[in-house]
Amino acid sequence: MTPSAVAIAIIFGTIFAGAVTGLWAGRRRQMNLEQWSVAGRGFGLILVWLLMAGEVYTTFAFLGASGWAYSRGGPALYILAYLTLAYVVSFFILPEIWEAGRKFSLHTQSDFFLQRYGRKSLAALVAMVGVLFIIPYLQLQLTGLGIIVQVASFDGVGRTPAILIAFVIVAGFVLSSGIRAVAWVSVLKDSLMLIAAITIGIAVPYKYFGGIGPMFRMLLETRAAHLTMPGSTPDKGHAWYISTVLLTSLGFYMWPHAFGSVFSARSGDTVRRNAVIMPLYTVTLPLLFFVGFAALLIMPGLKNGDLALLLTVRQSFPAWFLGVVGGAGALTAMVPAAILILAAGTLFAKNFFRPLFRPAMTDDQVARLAKVMVVAITAVAMYFSIYSSTTLVGLLLFAYSGVTQFLPGVVFGLFWKRVTATGVFAGILVGVGCALLLVVTKHDPWMGLNAGFVALCLNFVVTIVMSFATRPQPDGFAEQVRTVAVVGDAP
């Protein structure tokens, strides 16, 4: 067998094992809308941890982080900081969100807005913006999966067919399973990913430089400026770092899928304890940075930094190991992609289409429409991944500049009585508009600050001003809050 056949065979074997695990986990239960999207709210600490961890190790971390370490250098460090801080933020807001979810049986982020603010148009806007910005995140996963197929086939499969293959794999995987299946495939994915990251993160620097220390010493001699900010970029200094870390760590749980995954937890305390241990999950991430830095010395001058990790693996290890790494990588794209698509499909069908166009739809019909949307949304993301050349990290940053605009509505919704639906509606519109405008006109970063962060600040101001300018409204969470205060919030 040729090396490419070996590598490809192992990758598809891994994907197959993942799909079988998913089918097995999904088959044991009746799949109604509640099961398919929030698994009947029965996940304990371990499964919630796996599900949320599944969202951390995406293609973004695997190929994107190493890719930015390779092409940008210092600014890539924001990734280590924001993931850590995202859990700190989650510790305080997630249990509150979970509590609201339990009391009012919410499934999605849009349900949360509808319950709190009691305005259909706001809930529909939230659903629409959510779906809109899931697309670049999905595009990231498909692009990553495409890169894996392309590199593992020793460029025998070109970029476009590779992405088409990625599309078929992902859509098939989602349609055949639901969120419970996804959590179990996460187990397989995370174990493989851990093995892959530890092996290559340590072996690559040892093989070429005799250790991690010597590798950095060599980098210091030749590319010292690459290691600190702004690294190899002209415009990503400390102000960019701070604004980006704030934007992304505050926005981490504003993702519709991450927000929705909170509802699958068994108790608010599960979510809280989960947040305490979650930062530890990022501990292997630096290993991926090591590979990106090593690649800079081993194969300088790559046009696309996102290829750095896989090309280094291909050059340094036997083909079967490239297959193992590729397989792990394929799962790290499939699992998050599935989670994203599930969230987007459900949001579109349940929170956008039904309330606005077909109020009479039954839950089963909604579930069916959600499945149709799975294909449609994945196809749109595929279209963009074929025609765009943004780096994987660049895609995620763009997506963050959109979804973080939900933050004022969520935080004020939980902690500020005076906020109004109109205020939040206007804030989201202005925030998203401002972010899009700055990015499209190539003003990101703007005055050294992350464009999404500038938009978020504007969003906060607009939300506050417009809330004061409109009449106070009842708090959709208030009634029940009082009852619970008497009973205590023990799970």
Binding site: G74, L77, L80, A81, T84, L85, Y87, V88, F91, F92, G211, I212, G213, P214, F216, R217, L220, A224, L227, T228, M229, H238, Y241, I242, V245, L246, S249, R272, R273, A275, V276, I277, M278, P279, L280, T282, V283, P286, F289, A485, V486, G488, D489
Partner: protein, 77 residues
Amino acid sequence: MKARHLLQLLPALVPFLAVCFSVPLWDRVYPLVLGLPFNLFWLIVWIPLSSLCLWASYHLRQRGRISPSPPGKGLPE
């Protein structure tokens, strides 16, 4: 109630200061620690330390829930 909530927030502010706002102080290569550039080393160290800070927040919260509320305050939570 409010006071205790603020108390829980305190340990959580530490990671924000350490890995976000203070970046000009630690974003440099030297001193190398364990062969790593200082900025990378600093961020890695703060991964477990952030967990520790949250653990502190968690315990402040638990203690507040079990023991009687501070004087002059109402029901826990």
